[in-house]
Subunit: 410 residues, 2 copies
């Protein structure tokens, strides 16, 4: 059996993951694009707004004509039109002319500013006095001031939020080019693993990992494909992995926490078509016996069988990687929400490994306090009781009570 | 036309919203339960683990038998069995007896502790010497130490996370009782609104709100039902709202930013069956001309027509309310992720209204700095450029540059 020669640091894992190619692209309807990642920059074909508008009730003018105007020496302008709300001005404004305009009204050709009605006096015969000068653009919402035609409004790699979708709707863009969602095949292995519906006999346990990892994968909107539980039989595992590589972009196999079983998974993976084992072992706790490999260009994550370890490794490495595959930059930290908290009791770690400490958060005197939850890694209840976890970095021996920690929420 | 008599403070809005009944319940498969909210406590029918196990290689014993044992005066025990991994012990341990047990092996009846192999010496004739006492439970993972039968493992009102689903899988719970997802009918109104696929003539704008609000509703996994755009015609609006009340749990109508149109929406809503207008106007900016009403027990949100205002009001009031309807506690703050940042430039507000300031976040010298984005509320690009917003409370006149703000991320 192969030995555990390759124990990698967490950052090396991210280095390896960043070498995989992103997924193919597709076009989707704008109304189904929430959370999808753009594969192309979006360029506006239109000006928004398409026409300059007044922001005040008053008179559309050529700013030059009002230069030096005052109560003592008003500028005299001929009113050529009354522009109605929503109507296209019929006349253009020549020197010495003005048009009455409401708030929101379309600016006529030739005009470049609006004088507020307060600074005008109507004269008999369709003329007005302007008693205060305006500068070019004053009281006007310019054409294209929101978005100009030809402008890149959203860049490739952007995950679409509701207001991005709103903006695209405003520009009449009804289809967007996005990366495909990653398809993740999930396989639990082990003679002792039984389907969740089945009552386990002594020594058997239910297939927690398929459910927990499926749900984790769904938190980043990837598509989970749960495959059948595989017994500890190399030929069966090989067949299952080959099938997984055909139906999915990423393969996640869990199980093999004991040395012997872990080695047999490594053995089977090494013998897959075009296989490469990157690491079998990561300097982390929990989750050390994690395998990272590929077959035919498809990444293979071999997660520990213990559900708590499997869940945390998936959160730390798999989920950021899925977001990367879907076109985002690779973030080298867990996905999801992060909060600052004060550590309630000191947490120690072995030098040389990155440690993930599960915590319960309590609000005390207006600040968040993180209480470490200690418990054997097989205990799923410790994870269900936890609100999140913080990281003790690889070259740190611990964090003292009272220090601030960044907690990644589950 | 009715006057704008009822301008409410934001907290009054939440008070009103908390009076609506939660949605009906349904049962779903565990594998489709991510993000659903439990309507009943989940009680375990099983002990987890179902049998005590050893956490060490050694001998299963009765702790009492090792009392006072030392190198000088070892305890002498008869070895009655060699327990194999995963096998059910055949014999029970009587006083003076022990059984060899591997790590993870099932503890035999009668035994209550495990002596590590290091503290034992084998003797000829199937006996051992124990050279160190153990206490009851030492080196043993007790039956039910993770979860006990009858224990409430998750409480009603809990939104299911991946590890919760993993724990339920471990307990063999394959169906969960949850609240139904809220169905939200979305209606845009206004003669000037055209479908997104259509090129607007001058004075028309595309239906941004249907898209942006649909996407917002989807961020909390509620079900959006986009209905047709309704022209400014009371009979048409009435018909659309009555239809919406039939197909959805919550009605969101947007439009009517000008005083006249706003009043006509209030008028139509007041005349719906069993209608009640709670407020028409909230002391907030943007978003003041917001209507809150109900018809036949169904809440009606009348959002401003300006997309930026509509989006922010939905974020602040509608989304927390949808989570409440689905069984969670009503959180009186925007949903989603929150980060602390330092305000880059002072932000002022009118006393007596709560203000939502959009910001762009920049990482500078290891801290987040929030740059307010100022721009006319009609400009969708200001919202697309923003990373989030912070709140200037209702009785605060502003926040100075350099102060900390809590930014709600979009």
């Amino acid at each position: 059996m192969p030995e555990f020669l390759k124990v990698a640091a967490p950052q090396q894992i991210f280095d390896i993951l960043s070498g995989f190619s992103r997924l193919a692209v597709e076009q989707v309807d704008l109304e189904h694009s929430l959370g999808r990642v753009l594969s192309l920059d979006v360029i506006s074909k239109e000006d928004l707004p398409a026409w300059a508008r007044s922001t005040m009730d008053g008179y559309a003018v050529r700013a030059k004509d009002t230069f030096g105007a005052s109560d003592a020496v008003p500028a005299l302008l001929e009113v050529v039109e009354q522009i109605a709300m929503g109507a296209i001005p019929k006349k253009s404004i020549s020197p010495g002319q003005a048009a009455e305009i409401p708030t929101g009204g379309f600016l006529p050709e030739g005009a470049d500013a609006v004088v507020m009605v307060e600074y005008t006096n109507p004269l008999p015969g369709g003329e007005i006095e302007v008693t205060k000068p305006v500068t070019k653009g004053e009281n006007v919402l310019d054409r294209a001031c929101d978005i100009a035609a030809g402008e890149k409004v959203l860049l490739a790699g952007k995950r679409l939020r509701p207001q991005d979708i709103g903006m695209l709707a405003g520009l009449g863009i009804t289809k967007v080019d996005v990366y495909k969602k990653p398809k993740v095949a999930i396989i639990s292995t082990g003679d002792e693993i039984v389907p969740v519906k089945q009552t386990p006999s002594l020594g058997q346990i239910r297939d927690i990992n398929s459910y927990a990892i499926r749900a984790l994968v769904e938190t980043v909107s990837a598509l989970a494909i749960t495959l059948d539980i595989v017994r500890d039989e190399p030929a069966l595992l090989r067949a299952a992995l080959k099938n997984a590589a055909e139906v999915a972009d990423v393969i996640v196999v869990s199980g093999g926490s004991s040395i012997g079983k872990r080695d047999y998974i490594v053995e089977v993976v090494s013998n897959l078509p075009e296989a490469k084992i990157y690491v079998h072992g990561i300097a982390i706790s929990p989750g050390k016996p994690t395998l990272l490999a590929q077959t035919q260009g498809k990444p293979v994550f071999g997660l520990p069988g213990h559900p708590v370890s499997a869940t945390i490794v998936a959160q730390v490495f798999l989920l950021p990687f899925l977001r990367y595959l879907e076109g985002e930059e690779l973030k080298r930290e867990p996905t999801g929400q992060r909060v600052s908290a004060v550590l309630a009791t000191s947490a120690h770690s072995s030098h040389g490994r990155e440690e993930y400490i599960r915590v319960k958060l309590e609000k005390e005197q207006g600040r968040l306090v993180a209480y470490p939850i200690f418990g054997k890694s097989g205990m799923m209840s410790t994870l269900a009781k936890a609100d999140g976890f913080f990281i003790i970095p690889i070259h740190t021996e611990g964090i003292a009570a009272g220090e601030a920690v960044e907690v990644y929420l589950f």
